[in-house]
Assembly symmetry: C2
């Protein structure tokens, strides 16, 4: 299944607990769109959050993120990895 | 050691071989700045490349990336992960 990396901006001040809560909200409903969220990384100072997932489409990722309350600002498929 | 995620833009058309070559060029000299490059993800269509590393500073990451011929466009520490 294709991998995607998406970016959320504006999450300034995010805490470890808030990141886990957001991630858990994704995990709770990801199966409904066939998405598998794999990992997320956050910078409380800049408010940048990166999120790695497997999905059939970027739209499927966005549908889950939107329903969980945190739509991404940008997403790219990442077919190459090293 | 702190983790960082950096972004390279403009690498449109990057191939799997070119990504590996760029990554290997980083690995070959990363020890000189105490950097550990962990993983990279690339999208040939948009030219976006994400690169995850451990380092003492963003500047150390940039010094290696610059010497390897591919300075990042943006970088964020990612102290939180899930």
């Amino acid at each position: 299944m294709p991998e995607f990396m998406d970016i959320h901006r504006g999450m300034v001040g995010i805490t470890a607990d808030a990141l886990k809560e957001a991630h858990d909200a994704d995990l709770a409903i990801q199966g409904e769109e066939g998405v598998v969220f794999k990992q997320a990384w956050a910078d409380p100072d800049s408010g940048f959050v990166y999120c790695l997932s497997e999905a059939n489409s970027a739209d499927a990722v966005q549908r889950i993120h939107e329903r969980a309350g945190h739509p991404f600002d940008e997403i790219h498929p990442v077919p190459l990895t090293v």
